[in-house]
Symmetry: C2
Subunit: 449 residues, 2 copies
């Protein structure tokens, strides 16, 4: 059954207070679907619905809930209940939830846990947000490289129940240093007496705990990894990032880049759950900055006041020309920023791409000049149409160059290239566009004496 | 060693013609890295480098090459060599390459293959681009549900060598209908005598072969799947889409949406390899359309010619006001479009989101009006500053509403909501902005008699 049907049935069963149907439907639902279903319910309802699941599945469903809801629910649970739930969650999701609690609550919960788990939880929750450490899990299977296949498979059976993946196994030496990886497939197909060290792949892609999470996502996608091992300074294996968490990061980063491309700050937890003030705050900063940036355009126009007074028809084309420069520039910026984010464009391609962009921009400018001439001649006569067409070519080329160069410049100065947003590029292109347009107009049409 | 170091070493070994070093470095490189390295080499060099790899690894590396390069290389290979390579490629990548060849070549290659493989290849390459069928592979392990665990594991060992994943196994009935899934982990941990039918999960997420690829990627991410089964009309299992292919689709779709958000058409094979004409063509269409759309802004300005002649200072604020409406509108559109793409925003949230957007837009408009008043009073006096501030509030609200409503409207009419691009929203917001601005100005300032 699809989510929509299950959700509708569950809602009706809840209205009928049909406990049996509720239980059956919840058992049938995927944890991700159940999490979506309860997302906007009251905490009491959420808890009573989750209660129908066995503890391990409840822990999985809990991990799918939004951060805000997890925090709310945690506040209503007793230390014992929350501790139970935490112990059944994946190590990485447990650490994420733990980080949301206040100091006192954290201490109380740690006391309910075995010593080894306390250590592990403290460590996992200590990594900085946005790094490999913060998204990795300690639930992996490590196998000493001197084991034979039979013993390795026994280790998988013994320790694999709580591991997030048993399909990629990590071969370590006696100090816990990462030596290589072996897949469960290789173990199963291998001679039971052969040594893990003979089977393992030594060319391992890995990261350190402080690697940026977008780099982690990029590596997992580039090398089609099931999981990426994370090591600490001493080359000791400390965790793995699984592909599903890498996918979430990739989606999150793409969303952030798209928002940044429109000068919107990072919105935590999605559009629907964000508060009105958060939405306002994340949009207003740049919008106001751009108001001040536009003083330059205004000053440019003021400088050419006499030309404008003499040829009011020039104003008809002003929005069109500034928009066109902004559009072409935003296109160029978006192509570069996304290319840099996916690894398709690298800094060393800069000069080559500049040459290509100039060529393309000339083509775009000429075509748009042709289009605007048609409009221009009808509305304002040949002379002004010519001025507008010439300005169009110049403005589109300048706009495109601004859009192309800005992301590289920003990266050079250590700023995220995605800051080269459409609004920013448009504002810069505008100021130059206004100057170009009226300068050409004054030169061609002359000033009335 | 990192890619940069390996690449530099390989390049220097090639210059020294040190065959031994070349061979060693190629063996050390990840297939994805090797593919990137050879991407811009001549076909002869590419072939001689790939020659150093054993056939199966060569086939993997080949699958990582760009479509254009694969096509070029295929043209220089003999039927026998190409046939050999095809047989060692994954079923999905093989089908992708096969589709690039012309009819005659396809026929010649099919003749070099066993009958069953011919059928399979023909079928896999027949699905429409952009569907689950076109990205799925037939290299999966299917297990009759009446098998016991021992026999199931034997099947994995026998048929698993060529499968893309052996970690998720598909349980079928005697007609090949999908009954459920079981993971290799479950099989390994289970009692060897128990039946697969008892172990399998029957709540399976699946798609049909004609499901859109972005939906496939969305499901894989939502349910954290390792692979998503694909069935045909008769519920028969016909293939699986693995998580790594789903990740590629998600990245591709995000790139497409970002480009679309700037009115750039779909660019095949990345920015660096696209031809200049392709780049021009994918950008020019909308830019020219928008030139014509801007006739409305021009007409609006012409209508208020007298007001402008009387108060030239109004023109100073024109680019600022139209930009602000466009910026706020583009932000709203981007938030909606991305929210709809990730599933965070659904059509039924429409009314609620509209209310939120109006509230946020009023806040944004008032703040920006305040900012522009400061600038306005200094530049043009209190009266004009007041007109500009009032217009700003109205323009930002209208722009935001256009940006928010347009994606929903487009979806309603079966058009991709991502078509509500920044340039399109800006153009519509511009025309309304011009009318609002000069109408307010005429009303407040009056016309000189």
């Amino acid at each position: 059954m699809s989510y929509a049907i299950l959700a509708a049935s569950l809602r009706s069963a809840m209205q009928r207070r049909d406990q049996e149907a509720i239980e059956r439907l919840i058992a049938e639902m995927q944890p991700a679907d159940l999490a979506e279903f309860v997302q906007h319910e009251h905490t009491d309802t959420v808890l009573s619905l989750l209660q129908h699941l066995p503890l391990d599945q409840r822990a999985v469903a809990f991990g799918y809930l939004s951060v805000a809801l997890q925090e709310e629910l945690a506040a209503t649970l007793t230390d014992r209940k929350l501790g139970e739930l935490l112990q059944h969650m994946n190590a990485d999701e447990r650490a994420d939830l733990f980080k949301l609690l206040d100091e006192d609550r954290q201490q109380a919960l740690l006391h309910t846990m075995p010593r080894a788990e306390q250590e592990n939880l403290r460590k996992l929750s200590s990594y900085e947000e946005g790094t490999a450490g913060a998204i990795m899990t300690s639930d992996y299977v490590a196998i000493p490289a001197y084991y034979d296949v039979t013993r390795a498979l026994a280790t998988v059976r013994d320790t694999g129940t709580h591991a997030e993946t048993v399909y990629q196994l990590y071969c370590i030496d006696t100090d816990g240093r990462l030596l290589g990886t072996v897949s469960l497939r290789e173990l199963i197909l291998a001679d039971p007496d052969s040594q893990v060290a003979e089977l393992m792949t030594e060319e391992v892609v890995f990261v350190t705990a402080d690697t940026a999470q977008e780099e982690v996502a990029r590596l997992v996608a580039r090398y089609d990894l099931l999981a990426l091992p994370v090591i600490n300074g001493g080359e000791r294996l400390v965790g793995i990032v699984t592909y599903d968490d890498a996918m979430d990061v990739a989606e999150e980063e793409a969303t952030e880049d798209m928002h940044k491309g429109m000068s919107i700050g990072k919105i935590e937890g999605g559009l629907r759950s964000a508060s009105l003030y958060e939405l306002y705050r994340k949009r207003v900063v740049w919008l106001v900055l751009l108001v001040f940036a536009n003083i330059f355009s205004g000053a440019g126009i003021a400088y050419f006041e006499e030309t404008i007074e003499a040829y009011i028809a020039l104003v008809f084309f002003l929005p069109l020309l500034v928009d066109s420069g902004g559009n072409a520039g935003s296109q160029a910026a978006t192509l570069m920023v996304r290319g840099m984010a996916t690894g398709d464009v690298r800094s060393r391609d800069w000069a080559k791409l500049l040459g290509r962009e100039v060529t393309v921009a000339i083509g775009l400018g000429l075509t748009m000049a042709l289009a605007v001439s048609v409009v221009g001649i009808f509305r304002a006569g040949t002379e002004i149409a010519m001025v507008v067409a010439m300005s169009m070519v110049a403005i589109v080329i300048i706009g495109s160059l601004i859009g192309m160069i800005l992301p590289f410049l920003l990266q050079r100065f250590g700023v995220d290239p995605a800051t080269a947003s459409a609004p920013l590029v448009t504002s810069i292109a505008d100021a130059s566009g206004v100057l170009i347009y009226f300068a050409i107009a004054t030169a061609v049409l002359g000033l009335p004496v």
